[in-house]
Structures are given as structure tokens and as C-alpha cells.
Amino acid sequence: MREITILIKRDLILMRRIYWKKSLIFFGLTSLFDILIVFADKKDIFIENIMGMTQEHFLGNPLLLPYGWLFLLFGLLVVFYDFLSFDLFEGTQHIMTKVKKRTSLWFSKIITGGIAAIVIGMFQFLIHVVANQWLHLNINVLGKASIVTIFSMWTIYVCYQLLVLYLNYIIAFIVMSIWVVGGLSTNSPLALVNSMMLLRNSMTACVKGCGIIIIFCIIVGAVSINRIDLLEREEKNNG
């Protein structure tokens, strides 16, 4: 446990020193876009951006994507795409000689991702509360939307990091994109997105669904990280 705490402390230093600029730009622009929508008096689009859209609405408008909502969901991936792979496959494996258990590194990355999701979710909530001055939505709905967003972002981040143990991060990103966007039109329980839209599901169902996926990925990742070879990406590809 002590080792995990130290690794989280290290990760938080990395976040503060390296990733904050990217986070601020990405999530700042997303928030700015939300506020602009409010001023353009597009209440429906604003609601879609924070809560997703109903399946009927999506199927009735095949070219429509809840882009604001997708941007938010993929935010952690865009900002932290190399968060795990840098320590494992980018020539920085010397860190692993200082870590007694590989699983400690895995758990620390997952927990740090969760902390980042909470910070970003709260930031978004505050922005949405400000925007709500002009929309007068129920504040509880905004709160629920933020909780759903936090769990959704974390779930996608955890799934992505699990894929990164086996795949190049660009391929892992593409796989995640196909999985999430492809799930927009189906009701399959294997599709992530249905449980991540407050307009399609309840907050409890989202937390439960995401919780199951997160726990599954954490267990599989903890087993996998002990079985993989820490080779640099080119070596992994070339054999």
C-alpha cells in the first residue's frame, strides 16, 4: 500500500508539472464551447452535451453525434494517452527496478486517473452551474450529469490503459473510439455508452455499469501486467 501511495504521489507531481497545460486547454475549450452554446440559446444542445442523447433522437438523426459529450468522455484519453505506456514501454523501464511489485504501478495509474476524473468532473460542474444562470435547469440534474461524466471518463480511461498493456496506444485509442461511437446506436449491454448517458439511463445504473467494467479491468490488468514483457514499442512490434 505504501508503494502505491508513493507512486500516486509521483503521478500527481507528473500531472501538476506535465499534464496540467494539456488538461486546461482541452477541458477549458470544451467548457468554453458549452458556455457559447448557452449564449447562442441552444438549450437542447447544451443538455445533449452534458447528458448525452436518447437513442430515438440519435437513430432519427443518423448524422448527428453528441460531440460535446464525446469530447468530454475521451478527454482523459487525449490528455493522458501515454500515462502508463511511458513508464512501461518508452525506455523508462528503469523505474520498474525501483518498484517492488508491478501491480503497484498499475493500481497507482488507475487511482490517479480516478483523481483526475474527479477534478475534471468538478471543474465541469462549476462551469455548468455558471452556465445554468441563464438556463435555469434543475441543479440536481447537473450534479447527476457530473457524477455520470466522472464515472464514464474513468471507465473509458481504465479500459484504454488495459488495452495499452497489449497494444500500441494509437491502436488502443482507435479501438476505444470504435467501441464507444459504435455503441451509440445499440442497446447491447456490451456497448459502453448506453449506461453513460443520463438521457438513456439513471445515474445508479451508470455507476453500477461503470463500476463492474472498472473492477473487471482492474483485475485483468493486475494479472496481465505481471505477464507482459517490458519491451520498447518498436521491439514489441518487431518481435
Partner: protein
């Protein structure tokens, strides 16, 4: 002298390609072992196996124990080819970040080790702006900063100038005196002859003892 490192019948296959083939080696405590060989002969992979980065068939023992059974994580220092650090941090900050994981035994150890490889501990230049030689020096510094019992150095002479080579040889002497065991690979055969107690040759994944060859 104690038998420190034992490599018993270690083999590694990646995508049906035999990278390491039945490697056996015994290394005494405080010994410096030089390994030469052409690119792709398996030198780096052998060091990765000893460091515990890859899964392999066979057995690698340190003081008769599996690596996982070691109580201290500061027993091994590693420099593997294409070493990387965080571009946004200075060399010293990068080492301090490592020290967060595993504190040094003595205060001022980082400054001392940076001096020993010819880097200025108070330098403000970020790692991303380092020259190839400076990157190599910081990589050597992180490998030796805990004065580990086993040091694995893969091509440590890459990018080093004459002064850097002199400092490296001096460092080898100091580490040997302090009882560290070193496995070093290089294409520089003269360098290996100067610093090693024994020399091995890697050829298509097989380890050949030069003395017996």
C-alpha cells in the same frame, strides 16, 4: 568470493524467433563482465531478463534467490539502450523523482553521482534540451545512484566523448571497489577489455565465453 549472479539455462522466444538460447553464466560478487556482439545478437535481451523486465524460460538467481524474492529494490541499477527521461524536468529533477520511489542512503547522493558522471547538479537545462552525451550520462547516473549490488549497463559508451569515457572508467573502478557486480555490453571492444574481468561474446542468442573459445 561469493557467487552473486547465476543464470541457468535462460531462453527467450518472441514471435517464434529465438532471442536467447540456453544461456548459462555464473558471476562472482564484485566482478565486471563484458558482453560484446553484433546488433540483434541478444545482448540487450539478456540484460532485460536479468533486470526482470521480460518473462523467460530458465532461472536467474541473485544470491541464490529469485529476483522477486529480494527485499530491497535498490539491489539492481539498470541502463538499457534508448534510455528515456521526462523532457520537462532537469536531470537532477528526474533523479529526484526516482528518489521519491526509493530514497538514497545518504544525503547529497544525487549531487555526488551527477558530479561523478560530469554533469552539473545545479544546471537549469531540461532533459529535452540535453545532448546525446548528456542524456547518456544522466542514464548512467540513475543506474549507479543507489550504489546497487548489481549494475546492468547496455552500451554505456554510446554518445560519450573522451572525457565521458574517462569518467566512466573511473566510475567502474569505484563501483568495483565498493563491491558492485557489473554486466556491461558494448561494441567498443577496447573499452570492454580495459574494464572487464571476463569477456563474453553473444552470437545469435548464444553466450560464448571468450576464455574458453
Amino acid at each position: 568470493m561469493d557467487k552473486y549472479l547465476e543464470i541457468k539455462n535462460v531462453s527467450k522466444t518472441i514471435k517464434h524467433q529465438r532471442i536467447l538460447s540456453d544461456i548459462c553464466m555464473q558471476v562472482e560478487s564484485g566482478e565486471i563482465i563484458g558482453i560484446k556482439g553484433i546488433n540483434g545478437s541478444g545482448k540487450t535481451m539478456l540484460l532485460r531478463a536479468v533486470a526482470g523486465f521480460i518473462r523467460y524460460d530458465g532461472e536467474i538467481l541473485l544470491y541464490g534467490k529469485q529476483r522477486e524474492a529480494l527485499e530491497n529494490t535498490n539491489e539492481i541499477g539498470v541502463l538499457i539502450e534508448h534510455q528515456n527521461f521526462l523532457n520537462q524536468f532537469t536531470g537532477k529533477e528526474n533523479l529526484e523523482l526516482l528518489e521519491l520511489l526509493l530514497p538514497c542512503k545518504e544525503e547529497g547522493e544525487i549531487d555526488r553521482v551527477l558530479y561523478s558522471v560530469g554533469l552539473d547538479p545545479n544546471g537549469k537545462r531540461k532533459y529535452g534540451k540535453y545532448s546525446l552525451g548528456m542524456k547518456q550520462r544522466i542514464a548512467i547516473a540513475q543506474a549507479v545512484m543507489y550504489r546497487p549490488k548489481l549494475i546492468l549497463l547496455d552500451e554505456p559508451t554510446n554518445g560519450l566523448d573522451e572525457h565521458g569515457m574517462e569518467l566512466l572508467e573511473q566510475l567502474f573502478k569505484e563501483l568495483k571497489e565498493s563491491g558492485s557486480t557489473i554486466l556491461v555490453t558494448s561494441h567498443d571492444i577496447d573499452f570492454l577489455k580495459r574494464v572487464s574481468d571476463r569477456c563474453f561474446m553473444m552470437k545469435r542468442g548464444e553466450l560464448i565465453d571468450e576464455a574458453q573459445d
